[in-house]
C-alpha cells in the first residue's frame, strides 16, 4: 500500500538521523536533531479498532528543519483517508515557523497532491497554532486552521482542547468537499504523562460537516456529524 510505503520511508529517514545523533561527540551548539511526535494514536472505544492517527517528525537544526506531518482516519479495516506532508520549516519569529512543501492525500481509490504554505507556532496565551493553505495544480485551494491549548491540571495531567477548521475554495464532489467551511473538528483529551515522552489519554472527538460538504456526504449516505470517545497514546522521542 502506498501509505505504508510513505510511512516506512519516513521511518527510515528518521532512523538514519537518530543514528547520526549518537555519534555526536561534543558541545556543538546546533546539532542535527530529530524529533518524532505521535500526537494522537487512538481508537474509538465503541469500535475498538485503531481509528485515527496524527504524527509529526522533524529533522534539522534550530532554525531550519525538514518537517513531516501525517494524519489519517480509518473506518472498519480500510483506510478511509490519510495524508502526508513534507515541508521545509524555517523559523521566522521567536515562536513561529514558516512551512513550505507538498502534501499527498491517499484516498480510498485515488491520490492527489497539494502545494503547502503554512505557519506553525505558539500564539500569545500559549495557543499552539497550525494554519496552512493548500493549492492543487488544477487551481483547487483549501485552508486548514488548527488550534490547541494545553491546560496543566497537575504537573503530569494535561487537558488539551483543540479545534480544527477546514475550508475549500471550490466544490469537489469526488472528494466530497464543498466550497466554504467544510467541516469543524473539536476534541478534548486528557493525558497523563508518565514521563514527558509517554502519555496515554482519553478524550472526546466531535466532527461536523457543513454546507456543500454536508450535502455531498448526505447524498452518498454518509454521516455529517460524528462523536467519538477515544483512548489513545501520545508519545515523542
Amino acid at each position: 500500500m502506498k501509505l505504508k510505503k510513505h510511512i516506512s520511508s519516513a521511518i527510515v529517514i528518521t532512523a538514519l538521523t537518530c543514528a547520526s545523533n549518537q555519534s555526536l561527540a561534543g558541545a556543538e551548539d546546533d546539532p542535527l536533531l530529530t524529533k518524532v511526535m505521535v500526537n494522537q494514536l487512538e481508537s474509538d472505544v465503541r469500535k475498538g479498532k485503531l481509528s485515527s492517527w496524527s504524527a509529526q517528525g522533524w529533522l534539522g537544526h534550530d532554525l531550519h528543519k525538514l518537517w513531516i506531518k501525517t494524519e489519517g482516519e480509518r473506518v472498519d479495516s480500510d483506510t478511509e483517508e490519510s495524508e502526508l506532508q513534507a515541508l521545509y520549516s524555517r523559523a521566522i519569529a521567536p515562536y513561529w515557523d514558516l512551512q513550505l512543501g507538498i502534501r499527498k492525500d491517499l484516498l480510498a481509490d485515488s491520490s492527489q497532491e497539494w502545494g503547502v504554505i503554512g505557519l506553525q507556532g505558539l500564539a500569545p496565551y500559549y495557543f499552539e497554532i497550525d494554519a496552512a493553505l493548500f493549492v492543487r495544480d488544477n487551481g483547487d485551494a483549501a485552508f486548514r486552521f488548527e488550534a490547541e491549548y494545553e491546560l496543566m491540571l497537575t504537573q503530569k495531567l494535561v487537558l488539551t482542547p483543540e479545534v480544527e477548521f477546514n475550508f475549500y475554495g471550490q466544490n469537489s464532489p469526488d472528494n466530497k468537499t464543498g466550497s466554504g467551511l467544510s467541516n469543524i473538528e473539536a476534541g478534548i483529551r486528557l493525558r497523563y504523562e508518565f514521563i514527558r515522552e509517554i502519555a496515554p489519554y482519553i478524550g472526546i472527538n466531535w466532527s461536523k460537516s457543513f454546507g456543500n460538504t454536508a450535502d455531498f456526504l448526505a447524498t452518498s449516505g454518509e454521516s455529517q456529524s460524528e462523536t467519538q470517545i477515544v483512548v489513545g497514546l501520545r508519545a515523542w522521542f
Binding site: A27, D29, D30, L33, D62, A91, L122, P124, M152
Partner: protein, 631 residues
C-alpha cells in the same frame, strides 16, 4: 576537650559506614551500592609536577551504574595544593575515545596553557599527553575542569588551592574545600537534545489549573488575569528558574550525595575556612549553615573585605571562601539548595564523626517577576503589577533608603548609582534626593568613573532581532545589589542576611587605578523555547572575536536580555566588579548576571593572546560564547 586521634577518627568512620550500609539495605532504592563510598574525602595532590589521567569509570550516585569521565579515577578529581610563586608542570594523559582538555579556572597564565580547545590549543587527542606548565602568580581557591564537549558534566572537575607567598590575611585552624556539583545518569548530549526539543522538559513546577484557582480565590479574577497576562502574552513562564533540575540531577558535595553526607571535622573554638567551589554544570546553589554566621573572606580566589552573612548564592564556576567559628560540640549542616529548589546537597561540619546534622527543609521556590524580564516597572503600562516585581522594588527601595542614610555625604556611592538606574521608581514617589544624581541622570552618556559602573544608554543591536532572540530587556535593573531570585525576601522573611555583589570590596587596593578608556556593551541573548543562546544575538559559531588592545583598560557592561541567570566567565584576565569603591575593586573571574539586569566590570587587557569568554552554564556555553583577542 578530648582530641580525636586520626586512628580513632578513621575507625569511627568505618563504624558509621557499616551502620549506614545496614540502613541503606532497608531503603526501597538500591542504595546499598553507595554505602561503600560513604563520606568520601577529597584526595590531595601537591608538588611542582603533577600527573593527571583522564579515564572512563563506572560510578554510582543514584543506585545505577553509569559511565563517567574522571580525573585520576575520582569525582571530583584530586585537590591540587600548590604554593604561590611555584612553577608547576601538569602532565595530562587523555585515555578517552574523544579529545579532551583541562582548563585552570581563574588562573592567570599564558594563553597557550589555558586549556580551551580551538582557542588556546588543539585539545589533547585520545591516547596523548599534554604538558601544561605555568607560574602561579596568585593565591586562593580555584578549580579545574574539562573544556571539551560536555565532559565536565560527567565528572571532570577538581579543586585548586594555592597557598599565598605572603602570610595569609585570613587566620584559620581548619581548611576544607567544599566542592559542589550536579550529576545526571543521562548523557549530557541527550539532556541538551531534550532541551532543544522541549525546553521545559525538566521543569515540574509549571503553572497548573489548581494554582490558577487558588490565585483567583486569593486575588480575584482581574488581578490574577493582569498578573499572568504579560507572561501569557510573552509566552514565557514565571516558573522557569533553571533549565535542568533535580528531576535528573543528584547534587554532590565533594563527590558525596546528600545521603552519603560529606563530613568536615572541627574542634570547638576553632576557626574553620570553607572553600566553596561551584563546579556544577547547570546548577546555581544557595548556601547556608544553620546556626553559624558565614564570614566571606574571598571570592573567586581573591581576598575581599570580610563580610558577615547568613547565606550566599554561588553561581556556576564561582568560588567563595568563608570562615565559620562553631562554638559548640555539635554537627552543623552545610546546606546547598539549588536556586530552583528542586534539590539540594548537604554535608556536615561536625565536632564528632558520629554526629550528623539535621538537614533543613528547602525554602519555597520563587516566581520570576516583571523586573526579571528587564521591564523594571513603568516600562509596561500594566495595571496589575507582578508580586515578584513588587517585592523586588520594595527591597531595593528599603535598601536604598537605608544606604542613603548611611552615606549621605558620598555622592558617588554605589547606591546612588543604583538609584540612577532604578529611575522607573521615581514616579512612585520614593525618589532619592541627591541633586547630583538627578543631574547625572539627566545628562547621561559619558563614561562613568571606575568602580561605579555604567551610565551608558542601553542599545539593542539589529542582530538582537529575529527568531533566535525572544526577549530584550527594555529597562534592565542594576543587578549589583540584588541577592537574586528566591533570596530577595530572606532578610525580611527569615532574618537571614544574604550576600549580594554590592557587599564585595577588595581587601587590597585596586591594582590598576586607571579609568576605563571605553565601554563594551554586550547583551546576553537567547530564545528559551528553541533553546538557543548567544551574545548580542550572535552565537559563537557566527561571531567575530572581541578585540581588546593590549594594555587598555575597558569596562564591560553585560545586559541580560533573558530570564535566566548567566554566570559569565572571562578567561585570562580579571573581571573587576564595580561595587562602588574605586580604590578597592574586587577581582572576580565569574560574575552572575541576574535575569533582565545589567552589571559592569573593568578589565585590564594585560594578557596577550586568545581567550574564551562565555556563560558557564554548560548547555548555554556552546552559543553564549565569544573568543577574545588581546593584541
Amino acid at each position: 576537650m578530648k582530641t580525636v586521634s586520626h586512628h580513632e577518627f578513621s575507625r569511627r568512620r568505618f563504624v558509621l559506614g557499616a551502620s549506614t550500609a545496614l540502613l541503606a539495605a532497608t531503603l526501597p532504592f538500591p542504595k546499598s551500592t553507595l554505602a561503600a563510598d560513604v563520606n568520601n574525602q577529597l584526595i590531595s595532590l601537591t608538588g611542582k609536577l603533577i600527573n593527571l589521567s583522564i579515564d572512563y569509570k563506572q560510578v554510582n550516585f543514584t543506585g545505577r551504574e553509569k559511565l563517567a569521565t574522571v580525573i585520576n579515577s575520582t569525582i571530583p578529581g584530586p585537590l591540587l595544593r600548590w604554593k604561590e610563586g611555584e612553577r608547576v608542570t601538569i602532565r595530562v594523559t587523555n585515555n578517552l575515545a574523544h579529545s579532551s582538555s583541562i582548563h585552570w579556572h581563574g588562573l592567570i597564565l599564558p594563553y597557550q596553557m589555558d586549556g580551551v580547545p580551538g582557542i588556546s590549543f588543539d585539545g589533547i587527542p585520545p591516547g596523548e599527553t599534554f604538558e601544561y606548565q605555568f607560574d602561579l602568580v596568585q593565591s586562593g581557591t580555584y578549580w579545574y575542569h574539562s573544556h571539551s564537549g560536555f565532559q565536565e558534566q560527567t565528572g571532570m572537575y577538581g579543586a585548586i588551592v594555592i597557598e599565598p607567598r605572603e602570610p595569609d590575611p585570613v587566620s584559620f585552624d581548619r581548611d576544607f574545600v567544599v566542592m559542589l556539583s550536579d550529576w545526571s545518569d543521562e548523557d549530557p548530549e541527550a539532556v541538551y537534545a531534550k532541551l532543544k526539543k522541549q525546553s521545559d522538559y525538566y521543569n515540574f513546577r509549571e503553572r497548573t489549573a489548581t494554582d490558577l484557582i487558588s490565585d483567583i480565590k486569593q486575588k480575584g479574577i482581574v488581578k490574577t488575569w493582569n498578573e499572568r497576562s504579560m507572561w501569557n502574552q510573552s509566552r514565557m513562564s514565571d516558573r522557569d528558574l533553571s533549565d535542568v533540575t533535580g528531576y535528573t540531577y543528584t547534587y554532590l558535595m565533594n563527590g558525596n550525595t546528600p545521603e552519603q553526607g560529606w563530613q568536615g571535622l572541627f574542634k570547638n573554638g576553632e576557626k574553620v575556612r570553607l572553600r566553596f567551589i561551584n563546579s556544577a554544570a547547570m546548577t546555581i546553589f544557595d548556601i547556608r549553615i544553620p546556626g553559624l554566621k558565614l564570614t566571606v573572606v574571598a571570592s573567586d580566589g581573591q581576598s575581599v573585605q570580610p563580610v558577615s552573612v547568613d547565606e550566599f548564592r554561588i553561581g556556576v564556576a564561582e568560588t567563595y571562601d568563608v570562615i565559620v567559628e562553631p562554638d559548640s560540640d555539635q554537627a552543623y549542616c552545610i546546606f546547598a539548595q539549588s536556586m530552583d529548589r528542586t534539590g539540594y546537597t548537604a554535608g556536615s561540619l561536625t565536632a564528632h564523626p558520629s554526629l550528623k546534622a539535621e538537614v533543613p527543609a528547602m525554602d519555597p521556590p520563587a516566581n520570576l517577576g516583571h523586573s526579571d524580564m528587564g521591564m523594571a516597572m513603568s516600562g509596561m503600562a500594566m495595571s496589575g503589577m507582578d508580586h515578584g516585581a513588587m517585592k523586588r522594588d520594595d527591597r531595593t527601595m528599603s535598601e536604598l533608603n537605608h544606604e542613603a542614610k548611611k552615606s549621605q555625604a558620598v555622592n558617588h556611592s554605589a547606591m546612588n548609582h543604583d538609584a540612577m538606574t532604578m529611575k522607573p521608581n521615581a514616579h512612585q514617589g520614593h525618589s532619592m534626593k541627591s541633586g547630583m544624581q538627578v543631574k547625572r541622570e539627566m545628562t547621561g552618556g559619558g563614561l562613568g568613573k571606575a568602580g561605579f559602573g555604567s551610565n551608558s544608554e542601553i542599545r539593542h543591536l539589529p542582530s538582537e532581532f529575529g527568531p533566535h532572540v525572544d526577549m530584550r530587556a527594555s529597562m534592565p535593573a542594576n543587578g549589583l545589589r540584588d541577592p537574586g531570585i528566591g533570596l530577595r525576601q530572606n532578610q525580611s522573611q527569615y532574618g537571614r542576611r544574604v550576600l549580594n555583589y554590592g557587599d564585595l570590596g577588595g581587601l587590597h587596593r585596586t591594582y590598576d587605578p586607571r579609568e576605563p578608556s571605553r565601554e563594551i556593551q554586550l547583551h546576553l541573548t537567547g530564545n528559551m523555547s528553541r533553546y538557543m543562546w548567544s551574545m548580542n544575538g550572535i552565537k559563537f559559531a557566527d561571531a567575530e572575536p572581541l578585540q581588546l588592545k593590549y594594555g587598555e583598560r575597558v569596562r564591560i557592561t553585560l545586559i541580560n536580555d533573558t530570564m535566566m541567570s548567566h554566570p559569565m566567565h572571562l578567561h585570562g584576565m580579571w573581571s573587576e566588579l564595580e561595587t562602588g569603591d574605586s580604590a578597592y575593586i574586587p577581582k572576580k573571574h565569574t560574575i552572575i548576571v541576574q535575569p533582565g539586569s545589567k552589571i559592569s566590570y573593568l578589565v585590564s587587557a594585560d594578557a596577550r593572546g586568545s581567550w574564551a569568554y562565555h556563560c558557564h552554564l554548560l548547555f548555554h556555553m556552546p552559543g553564549m560564547f565569544r573568543k577574545v583577542v588581546v593584541s
